[in-house]
């Protein structure tokens, strides 16, 4: 009897919450046309029948140890969300947090020494260590049982890609998908891409564009890019008393920051070391695109536009240089320089921040700098074979996949961490936003470590709000300074992402840099060789004295000829073929 009552109460709570969200969602869907359905995503998660919590609940308290590979900190003891999970779902979690760079060591020790496994495991590299080691349970039978409709729905469209097929274990799903499972398909600064471009670009300072009268950025070329920089540099040899830097890139510790551009100039997205044309992978470091790029850089170097310290700066110094606002242009990925951008904003130097441009080598090539977020198949939660009662744990994650719980992780508590306006739009006050940036506040009010690991709804929630405040358009507009508004208006655009291309859908093998390269093979050796040649010789290409470029380029190609690039290409090719075959 008590149990029935409990279930009834919980049902009522669930319905009430759903109603609060769903009502707004209904209004929303009346006003705007629903987005075109994307292949494979039929039902929205909240159209599932309310959960029968059954074994999950305060009447059945459990304590689970959970190992999570993440750089975030575990929650504080007074964390309200952990408390709520304990109270409403009866689950107490003891976290074992492993920083990303120590993951290999920990996993190796666990396996080799046969140490006790935790109840739940999340790793960011599903490689032979875990699944082939026979450590995790195969989840397909559970998903197919119908007991976990949300989880099943979450994985169904991508089950081919998510399945692990290498090694001696039975092929199947061993990890629950966690990142970039989008339930909606918004574009242009919507909740999928977000308002700020986090991808690659040839960034250009806003002041440079203002200087040139906000020119049209379509059909951008390297020539125009460097010309604009040069003209500005001549007019402004120093900025704030320090010498202006025309162009730079990150290199120490991130060699690809220096060597990636040829792909984009060819109109391809980032596939790592290869260009994939018609499904065939080729290393591009000696291709015409690479030659074009290095020649252009060499030329820019002699015009005084390229900073020679680009290849000797540590990441700290690179960030510092960007933060001084004297860097006019650089090639990098948007997520990597958040701190310098924030530093400039804090100092009120809005015009010194940058927007992405997309030069290509051949006019007419469609740029592909911005890419759609790819379903992450390497990370996720798995249930070790030693774990008892896996259904209980799966029910837990099933419950957390409901929008109401997801919102607790990202937005927080209504009225405390965010507010809802008359139109059902979520918004935050300045203080609420500031809180979210405070590390200490987050330890008590967010459980970032768990959020990193669990399956997530990304894109828009059923009520129409973005799944996280960072991607909420209204939040974005609130925070815009006057200068930013002015800049956006001058270009007639709404968000920064709109400066970059509309990302097309990704081919099934994208990104090819996810291809595993087993150690000790000729492919791995070739990859290591390439990683040795590039930092050694490319700076010499860029800074080659006039007339010497051709000799150095020939030497560069000669070194590459000694590398067994075919082995590496073959390895990546097999990955590509496999993905294409498995795609739906």
């Amino acid at each position: 009897m008590k149990k029935l009552l409990l279930i009834l109460v919980l049902l009522m709570v669930a319905v009430a919450v759903l109603a609060a969200c769903g009502r707004n969602g209904d209004e929303q869907s009346d006003a705007t046309p629903s987005p075109p359905p994307v292949t494979g995503q039929e039902t929205q998660p909240d159209q599932q029948p309310p959960l029968d919590l059954g074994i999950l609940g305060p009447h059945n308290p459990v304590t689970w140890t959970m190992m999570i590979v993440t750089d975030n900190m575990p929650p504080a003891a007074d964390n309200w969300l952990m408390e709520r999970i304990r109270e409403e779902l009866g689950v107490t979690l003891i976290f074992d947090i492993v920083p990303g760079d120590l993951q290999d060591t920990r996993v190796a020790t666990m396996l080799a020494a046969g140490a006790t496994l935790p109840d739940i495991i999340h790793v960011t590299q599903l490689d032979a260590h875990m699944a082939a080691g026979g450590t995790l349970m195969r989840l397909d039978p559970f998903l197919e049982s119908g007991m976990f409709p949300r989880l099943q729905e979450h994985h169904a469209p991508y089950i081919g890609r998510l399945s692990f097929r290498e090694g001696p274990v039975e092929p199947g799903l061993y990890q629950m998908a966690t990142w970039n499972r989008f339930y909606t398909d918004d574009q242009g600064g919507g909740p999928i891409m977000g308002p700020t471009h986090g991808g690659t670009g040839f960034w250009l300072q806003k002041s440079v564009l203002e200087f040139h009268g906000f020119p049209n950025l379509d059909n951008m070329t390297l020539e125009r890019y460097f010309d604009m920089i040069e003209e500005y540099m001549i007019a402004n040899p120093t900025i704030d008393g320090m010498p202006t830097i025309g162009f730079t890139f990150p290199m120490l510790g991130r060699v690809w920051g220096m060597t990636n551009p040829p792909q984009f100039l060819a109109g391809h997205p980032n596939n790592g070391e290869v260009l994939v044309e018609n499904g065939i992978a080729r290393i591009y470091h000696t291709s015409e695109y690479a030659e074009y790029y290095w020649r252009a850089l060499n030329d820019a170097f002699h015009r005084g536009l390229v900073d020679p310290e680009s290849w000797t700066r540590t990441q700290d110094e690179y960030q510092a240089a960007l933060a001084t606002g004297r860097v006019l242009g650089f090639h990098d990925q948007g997520w990597a320089f958040g701190t310098p951008r924030d530093a400039l904003i804090e100092a009120g130097r809005y015009e010194r921040t940058w927007i992405p441009t997309m030069p290509v080598m051949r006019s007419g090539t469609t740029p592909w700098y911005a890419d759609r977020p790819v379903l992450n198949v390497n990370q996720g939660i798995g249930i070790p074979v030693t774990s008892d009662n896996p259904e209980h744990k799966l029910l837990f994650f099933e419950t957390l996949l409901q929008p109401e719980w997801q919102m607790l992780f990202t937005w927080g508590r209504e009225g405390i961490d965010y507010h809802v306006d008359a139109n059902g739009n979520f918004y935050r006050t300045a203080e609420q936003r500031r809180n979210a940036d405070e590390a200490a506040w987050r330890l008590s009010n967010r459980v970032e470590v768990l959020w990193d690991a669990i399956p997530k709804i990304q894109g828009s929630l059923p009520c129409g709000n973005a799944y996280t405040p960072g991607n909420q358009p209204s939040e974005f507009y609130e925070g815009l300074s006057d200068y930013f508004r002015f800049f956006l208006t001058s270009y007639g655009l709404g968000t920064w992402t709109q400066f970059a291309n509309d990302p097309p859908s990704n081919p099934p093998y994208y990104p090819a840099w996810q291809a595993p390269i087993p150690g000790g093979t000729p492919a791995a050796e070739a990859a290591a060789q390439i990683q040795d040649i590039l930092p050694r010789l490319v700076p010499g290409l860029i800074s080659a004295p006039p007339g010497e470029f051709d000799t150095r380029w020939a030497a560069f190609i000669a070194e590459f000829e000694m590398v067994n690039t075919e082995a590496l290409e073959a390895q990546i090719q097999s990955f590509i073929d496999d993905r294409i075959a498995r795609a739906r």
Partner: protein, 302 residues
């Protein structure tokens, strides 16, 4: 004396027993869960000396890389050892001449400070110091001001400076710290000896040579012998953070090599083989140095 036996067993337990893991150097070690460590080791595929052959085969890329790493390691270590030892001795002598203990202690405390900065910070500082003058590189500033060079040098872009950079960074960080041992030995010197030497007409430098240096000579020799045993380990952070650029040819040492080829590629067999090789050579060097010291009738390690 009996009390030493349990301690010996302790050392054997914690240092020698784990050496069983060295079998990995002769295997392709791919661990599986649930079978326990012993079975994992037994079941791994036996490849004999294959890993060692890969390491030393200079015609193959891995081998060539290893030999290059080996050369760099020895070069960096040797330079660090020579520069470091001489400087530490000189500094100890200088400190010993300071009569006021208050000032001496104050200076010593300051000299110890760099040792407490983590390598991360030291790398950042080293990189800043080596930058071009426009970015605040003080080394270039000083060299230009003293007219030793005419144009600023981008130290991190040229491979030939890297060994010196490693030695310099180690020197800056450890110089003060290294004097501790010498200073502690110097406390054993009877001050009356100096008096007696003055009466005999010895000047400052002869006193240094015959008294101070003579007393710490055993310590110096011992430290040199021990450091020669460590010749194949030249650090990690400086090479990792600053040596991944154009100077990689002279920066990549054995530790970085093991990271790239062993750990990152999950090739435990190769990593262990490199470790075994390194140990073997280290011990040979150690015994050789000890022998040389014995032949020169100096203090020996054993």
């Amino acid at each position: 004396m009996l009390m030493s036996i349990p301690m010996l067993l302790y050392v054997i337990l914690f240092a020698y027993v784990p050496l069983g893991g060295w079998v990995m150097a002769f295997q392709n070690f791919r661990p599986r869960f649930g079978v326990g460590p012993i079975r994992n080791l037994i079941e791994a595929e036996w490849v004999g000396l294959a890993h060692f052959r890969t390491l030393l085969d200079t015609s193959g890329h891995t081998g060539a890389r290893f030999i290059r790493a080996l050369t760099n390691t020895v070069g960096q270590s040797l330079l660090t050892l020579v520069v470091g030892t001489i400087s530490a001795i000189v500094l100890s002598l200088m400190l010993h001449e300071v009569r006021q203990t208050g000032i001496k202690r104050f200076i010593q405390n300051i000299l110890y400070l760099p040792h407490f900065l983590s390598w991360m910070i030291v790398t950042v500082l080293v990189s800043m110091a080596l930058a071009l003058p426009v970015s605040g590189g003080i080394i270039n500033d000083v060299l230009l001001a003293l007219r030793i060079i005419r144009e600023p040098i981008q130290f991190l872009a040229e491979p030939r400076y890297f060994w010196g950079i490693v030695a310099g960074a180690n020197l800056w960080r450890n110089l003060g710290w290294n004097t501790i041992i010498y200073m502690a030995s110097m406390t054993a010197i009877d001050p009356n000896l100096y008096e007696a030497a003055s009466i005999d007409g010895a000047n400052r430098y002869r006193k240094m040579w015959h008294i101070t240096l003579a007393t710490i000579r055993p310590t110096i020799i011992l430290l040199i012998i021990m450091n020669i045993g460590w010749l194949l380990a030249s650090g990690f952070e400086i090479q990792f953070f600053l040596g991944s650029g154009p100077s990689i040819a002279r920066a990549e040492n054995i530790d970085i090599f093991v990271l790239r080829f062993g750990i990152e590629q999950h090739n435990f067999g190769l990593a262990t083989a490199a470790g075994v090789f390194r140990t073997g050579v280290s011990i040979l060097l150690l015994l050789a140095a000890n022998l040389v010291a014995k032949l020169m009738k100096q203090e020996t390690l054993f």
